[in-house]
């Protein structure tokens, strides 16, 4: 049964669908991965580079099921096969001019006998020319190796197995049920009790494989957003496990990096497709009811990718496509519930980076105004709280059956994302805007969930946490508001997120109730660093200074060249820099 499941999965996905599990397999077999799956002009035939357990430098070229199954196909890739063996490895940890010791061509298809023979002959020719021998790995090898390494970690509980099969058998044309995937992965990993670092590592490796199985349909349908969400959910679970088990980074970081890389690649494909098109239409009679939500999702996740690149200080490869996409589409974005709020925050931050701070501020101001108006006490049609995912609020707006659950709940008189929006504007000195919103803001109770531990920020359903409900002060104080908006406690996010802050822009997108004022402060601080922040470390993590890793730091909010709307000229004499004030 398991063998058939793995085999069918391998048959149905392309090269991109199995590259992460294959890399994970290599890691489980003792390889040290130097370069994860890459596809760019500088790869020179080497998708993956590793050092195998016998210290041999190994390079892998991955191919889809039909790409090299016959000679005609193989000959199309002859150049890549030559480069795989003949081109020196270009990697900072490897000396210049070094050839690999072993090279492999990997396919999830079945090779014809003549192709195997050709590959054997190429290998013999390589050896004769003192080049590395060329070996090949095909579907049957992959199945047996995957089962040997990860087979025992497949879910044995019927309920968990059923969840996997349900995900596995999905056609992947619709949205990914991220909460179901999250619950399934959480069930599969050792969150209860202490687990040895080796146990954690093995479980994480197997969960990567399970994620790949679960994403089969979405991968096969080239549903890039769903694939990205799937790998981000996996990355989130890995971070939580690492935090809760205090696992050494070398046990989980390679898997995290692999998943984050896969998510990033999927989002790049999404952005490329979305920006190359004239619009984001998927023609249908009822398309108009869905378009705004699709725009919100595509622009929101695309924006989060840019924010992650900015936080990492890496080249912002998403910038051209995202700029084009946002300019063309953002006006159509539609927020139907507070679960859409985090996407809008990501869009606003991206617009601040791509266009101007004012453009981003306009987005949040419009959102805050709409939310405060819609959710006034007694108002009909208040925006649903962020515990109701986008597809649920969409169903509610369309008066469809699965939105019925929402009709049992009241949402007027309170809001979960209002405080974050008010603070966002406050940090940008939009005093007049905030003042104009204040009266309606004071009529709401702002709600935010405070998890019982930092690790619980990375999941939902924390029984030991508490819901914090606040009624804004009467009258409000701009000074107090600004002080609060610039206070940051390192303990508000788990240590693993300070280690991998690139995950922060995606966290509230995956878990909308986790978008709180304090989380947005951290994200804002990393994206728009300013000396105005007061950093506190309530768990005493001195020495783990989370200075932003940006190469091109933005100016602090208070030193913008645009006039602030409080009527006073704003010019911060301090240059943009990492936090200078630490309070213990």
């Amino acid at each position: 049964m398991l063998e058939r499941l793995v085999e069918y999965w391998l048959t149905s996905v392309g090269e991109l669908g199995y590259q992460v599990p294959f890399t994970q397999l290599l890691m489980a077999e003792g390889h040290r991965v130097l370069q994860g799956p890459v596809h760019h002009p500088f790869e020179h035939g080497k998708d993956i580079i590793t050092i195998d357990p016998r210290k041999r430098l190994s390079a892998f070229q991955l191919k889809g099921p039909d790409e090299i199954s016959d000679l005609k196909g193989l000959e199309r890739y002859q150049g890549q096969l030559d480069a795989l063996a003949m081109a020196a490895i270009s990697h900072p940890s490897i000396g210049a001019g070094r050839l690999p010791d072993r090279v492999y061509v990997v396919t999830n298809g079945v090779l014809r006998p003549e192709v195997r023979d050709r590959l054997n002959q190429i290998s013999a020719g390589n050896v004769a020319r003192r080049l590395p021998p060329l070996e090949f790995i095909e579907r049957d090898h992959l199945v047996s190796r995957l089962l040997a390494v990860h087979g025992r970690y497949l879910p044995s509980e019927p309920a968990s197995f059923r969840r996997l099969v349900e995900l596995y058998s999905d056609d992947g044309l619709g949205p990914l049920p991220t909460q179901r995937l999250l619950s399934f992965l959480e069930e599969s990993l050792p969150f209860t009790g202490a687990t040895s670092p080796t146990g954690v590592q093995r479980a994480i490796g197997s969960a990567a494989l399970l994620t790949a199985y679960a994403l089969r349909g979405w991968e096969a349908s080239a549903n890039h957003l769903a694939v990205a969400q799937g790998w981000l959910v996996y990355a989130l679970v890995v971070l939580r496990l690492a935090e809760e088990q205090s696992a050494p980074p070398e046990r989980w970081e390679p898997s995290f990096a692999l998943a984050f890389g896969a998510a990033r690649a999927a989002l790049e494909r999404l952005l490329a497709e979305a920006s190359e098109r004239d619009d984001l239409l998927v023609p249908d009679l009822a398309e108009g009811a869905f378009y705004g939500t699709r725009v919100l999702l595509v622009c929101g996740y695309g924006s989060a990718l840019l924010l992650a690149e900015r936080i990492l200080g890496e080249p912002e490869s998403s910038r051209p496509a995202l700029t084009k996409l946002l300019r063309r589409e953002v006006k159509y974005a539609r927020v139907l519930g507070e679960s859409g709020g985090p996407l809008l925050f990501a869009i606003a931050s991206a617009l601040s980076l791509l266009e101007s701070s004012l453009v981003g501020e306009a987005v949040i101001e419009r959102y805050a105004r709409g939310l405060l108006l819609r959710n006034q006490p007694g108002a009909k049609g208040a925006l649903a709280d962020p515990y109701h995912p986008i597809d649920e609020v969409l169903a509610r707006s369309l008066e469809l059956d699965n939105g019925e659950q929402l009709s049992d709940e009241r949402f007027d008189g309170r809001a979960f994302t209002a405080r974050a929006a008010i603070e966002w504007l406050t940090r940008r000195l939009r005093r007049r805007s905030v003042a104009s919103l204040w009266a309606s803001y004071t009529l709401l109770v702002t709600c935010e969930f405070v998890p019982s531990s930092p690790a619980r920020l990375l999941t939902l359903g924390d029984d030991d946490g508490r819901l914090e409900m606040r009624m804004p002060k009467l009258p409000g104080s701009w000074r107090d508001l600004r002080t609060e908006a610039l206070q940051l406690d390192k303990a508000d996010v788990p240590a693993v997120l300070w280690r991998h802050p690139e995950m922060l822009p995606f966290l509230p997108l995956l878990l909308p109730p986790r978008l709180t004022a304090s989380l947005v402060r951290v994200i804002d601080y990393l994206l728009f660093p300013s000396g105005d922040y007061v950093i506190r470390d309530s768990v005493g993590q001195e020495g783990s200074e989370p200075a932003p890793r940006q190469k091109r730091p933005s100016r602090p909010a208070s030193s913008r060249s645009v006039p602030a709307d409080d009527g006073r000229a704003k010019a911060d004499p301090k240059p943009a820099k990492a936090p200078t004030r630490e309070r213990k």
């Binding site: 006490p377 709940e409 009467l474």
Partner: protein
């Protein structure tokens, strides 16, 4: 096993439970204007009011009994079942009303916002109550917002209503009532004027 329809049963059960919830404010109109929200996560809620006072909500489980004998299960249809479920709604409503009045009473007593009649109800007692209650006004009409309720036992209500109708014939009583409403309106205006962002 015997053939069954678990999915349909799950759906109809969901609808029946919703029906019970919808009946609660109908059988207990007092609850109609009380906002009820769902807390999706956590067993505790902490409220910080505008004046910085705080309150903690700890959720308590409540149990209600509803019995459907096997004999009835053979034939009962949805319409009959709904009629029976109103009994359940009444139990829930009674529990919620009691809980709410207890909490309100405790909160009022804690800050001394209560009027002790001591014996016979007199006009000054009623006027005192009117001075102490929190009243919001409709900005469009300047009239008190609807939703103000008096809660009392029906026997008490019969006596009190008769007395109040008698007092309402007294111009001095009505003038004082009007003066209190003006004071409440001013207090409301002052409160609303504080919904600003100062320095």
């Amino acid at each position: 096993m015997l053939p069954d329809f678990p999915d349909l049963k799950r759906r109809v059960n969901t609808r029946l439970l919703r029906f019970v919830r919808e009946q609660v404010p109908i059988v207990a109109p007092l609850l109609r204007d009380v906002s009820a929200y769902t807390q999706h996560e956590g067993r505790r809620g902490e409220l910080t009011r505008a004046d910085a006072s705080t309150d903690t909500t700890l959720f308590k489980a409540a149990h209600f009994r509803f019995e459907l004998p096997k004999e009835e299960m053979h034939t009962i249809d949805l319409a009959s079942l709904r009629r029976r479920l109103i009994e359940l709604a009444e139990q829930i409503a009674a529990h919620q009303s009691h809980l709410m009045l207890t909490r309100v009473g405790e909160a009022a007593a804690a800050v001394g916002n209560e009027v002790n009649v001591g014996g016979e109800l007199k006009p000054e007692h009623l006027l005192d109550v009117m001075r102490k209650v929190h009243v919001d006004f409709d900005p469009a009409t300047n009239k008190p917002k609807p939703g103000f309720s008096w809660v009392m036992h029906p026997d008490t209500a019969t006596k009190v209503i008769a007395k109040v109708q008698e007092w309402e014939k007294d111009p001095a009583f009505m003038a004082e009532l009007s003066r209190i409403e003006d004071q409440q309106r001013e207090a409301w205006r002052a409160r609303e004027a504080r919904r600003i962002l100062a320095d």
